[in-house]
């Protein structure tokens, strides 16, 4: 789950990383700005990439802070309404650095990226001047970044940044973060500040950090998660239900390859019973664009008779094409054919039939 800028900065500050002086303003509520803030950055708290370019960050001198803030509340940033704004003192920038920590899958370890060319899109730097980016992994059982790793990363940049790296590493490890990023990390006459911050937490560890609800999911996706399946909305007219992420993805791919348009990805998970299957079928049945539903289930621990009962119980109006294989296959098939459902033996036959029916 992505944290908002002010939430991320709150965590950084508690870890000892300096952040600019500022105040969080909620839409419709009054606020005070300290009189000694001469100039401020007015920042919409929306989670979109390229927020600055999309008009989500405005600059204002003291006299115009209030008006600028009101103006920003009236806008939408890449379609998202602005509900919260962070007003921060403008920093006296001497230099901008980039610092991030993420997980290197193939090294199975945290990886730290640092460059003296901060403040811009890191992918741009990676393309134009890859040599400027220093990258180092840390052995995951260490509680601190070793000194030689810090020296390698800094490559002559101010030593104080080493302490910031150390603190960000502690945040990354203790928060179960998938990404901890400070861009830019700004050098000012008063020292270093995290001018912007990004934290993405591991969805599987949210409960451990007292977070009950994953804000990143859409309403329908959240409902699906509550029923125990993973669900992604696409925008076609063929509803897809499978079991297992790989098989379901392969079903979506095959529909596309055959010229059809999948409406979604829905993995009912292992061992789905009639209740779960019925929920899944009803969820797709409620999507207005769906004209055909394909159910492609390969039972290991999933029982085909349960699946069949769930499909029948859902009783949706759309045509359903079923491919079932595995435990209690004969019973499941008998049940479905007694109700007139169309059943096919292989995944390719079922997908072909669904694509034809939907076109």
């Amino acid at each position: 789950m992505k944290l908002k800028e002010y939430e991320a900065k709150d965590i950084l500050q508690k870890a000892g990383i300096p952040i600019p002086r500022g105040v969080l303003v909620k839409k419709g509520s009054d606020f005070l700005v300290s009189p000694d803030i001469k100039e401020a950055a007015i920042k919409a708290q929306v989670e979109v990439a390229g927020r600055g370019k999309a008009g989500g960050i405005l600059m204002a001198d003291h006299a115009s802070i209030r008006d600028t803030t009101e103006k920003l509340f009236q806008t939408t940033i890449k379609g998202l309404p602005v509900e919260e704004i962070l007003i921060e003192e403008k920093l006296q920038i001497q230099h901008e650095y980039y610092l991030s920590i993420t997980i290197d899958r193939s090294q199975k370890a945290p990886v730290i990226l640092f460059t003296t060319e901060g403040g811009v899109d890191i992918e741009e730097v990676a393309q134009k001047n890859p040599a400027a980016i220093r990258k180092a992994t840390v052995y995951p059982l260490l509680s601190k970044v070793p000194g030689y790793t810090l020296r390698y990363l800094l490559n002559g940049a101010p030593k104080e940044i080493g302490a910031i790296i150390q603190k960000l590493y502690t945040v990354f490890m203790s928060q179960d973060a998938l990404l901890a990023e400070i861009n830019p990390l700004v050098m000012t006459p008063d020292g270093l500040f995290a001018a912007d911050a990004k934290l993405i937490l591991d969805d599987n560890a949210l409960a451990r950090h007292g977070i009950q609800e994953n804000r990143d999911l859409s309403e329908r996706e959240r409902k699906a998660a509550a029923h125990g399946f993973s669900f992604v909305e696409l925008n076609g007219n063929i509803g897809v239900i499978g079991n297992g992420a790989g098989l379901t993805m392969a079903t979506v791919d095959l529909i596309n390859r055959m010229g059809g348009r999948p409406a979604n990805f829905l993995d009912v998970g292992g061992g789905a019973d009639r209740v779960r299957v019925a929920h899944a079928v009803r969820l797709l049945g409620s999507m207005p664009d769906v004209t055909v539903i394909i159910v492609n289930l390969l039972g290991g621990i999933t029982r085909c008779d349960e699946v069949a009962a769930g499909i029948i119980e859902a009783g949706v109006s759309q045509q359903i094409i079923v491919r079932l294989a595995g435990t209690n296959e004969a019973e499941g098939k008998a049940l479905l054919s007694s109700k007139g459902y169309r059943m096919l033996d292989t995944m390719e036959e079922a997908v072909t039939a669904a694509v034809e029916a939907a076109s």
């Binding site: 899958r105 560890a205 297992g244 790989g246 290991g300 294989a325 595995g326 390719e348």
Partner: protein, 293 residues
Amino acid sequence: MIYADKNTGVIVCGATGNQGSFHIDRMNQYARSIGGRGVVAGVTPGKGGQEVHGVPVYNSILEAAEAQNATAAVLFVPGSSAGDSIMEAADAGLDLVVTITEHIPVHDVMQAVTYAQMRDCTVIGPNCPGLFSPGEISMGIMPAHLATRGPVGVISRSGTLTYEVVHELTRAGIGQSSIIGIGGDPIIGQTFADALERFAEDPLTKAVVILGELGGNLEEEGARSAELPVVAFIAGTTAPAEKRMGHAGAIVTGGEGDANAKIARLRDLGVPVADRLSEIPAMIRGGNLNVNH
């Protein structure tokens, strides 16, 4: 066959839970049908002394390993404690831990896998269907009836996709030596490269099918070092970027791990990549791999 065989004594962690107890029964039905040792002990802290389908339950992995001479474990414990169980197994001196559990925090996996490696303990998974070697051993949740013994190894990031391919191979008369679900998480123990290295030392295996998906670059890494002929399939060629398709590892971020780019890189390495699952048996035969013995 690789990683384990008929004589491997297996411990199931999370033995008294629904999943654990159900699969102890299934694994042992298979073991009995082929004359293997199967699951010899269960572990659930606080429930030592009980029995699950005739298998004695212990309070710790160390106790279970010593009492029953077991060297491998299958984990069905909850995600929040699975990292802990991997380290416990490594500390108890086990050689192999197959982690079926999904939704384990990535940091837990990262640390547990590193810890296990330090103790020379091999980790398969997490978030995987386990290991199945027809005629030798079942360590996980793969349905036994789909597989048949033969010369083709299968390595996969996904569960049911594996069953689909094994089913296709069996129907085409091509048997399997070992089927390894390496798991769908961003960090996993055994990778394609690791499993391919094991297959290269296995006299039974003549070719390997690798079933990958979008996200990361483990497929390419494996193909680069493979000594045996490899055929691949990659799921997620039409998945939208930045959307997670079930597996935590199946996500494209910042352009990394795109399925089509992955397929192109595999083809550049000379690996045949199937557009459809149903093409795999013919590609195996087309490779003149002498798989009909």
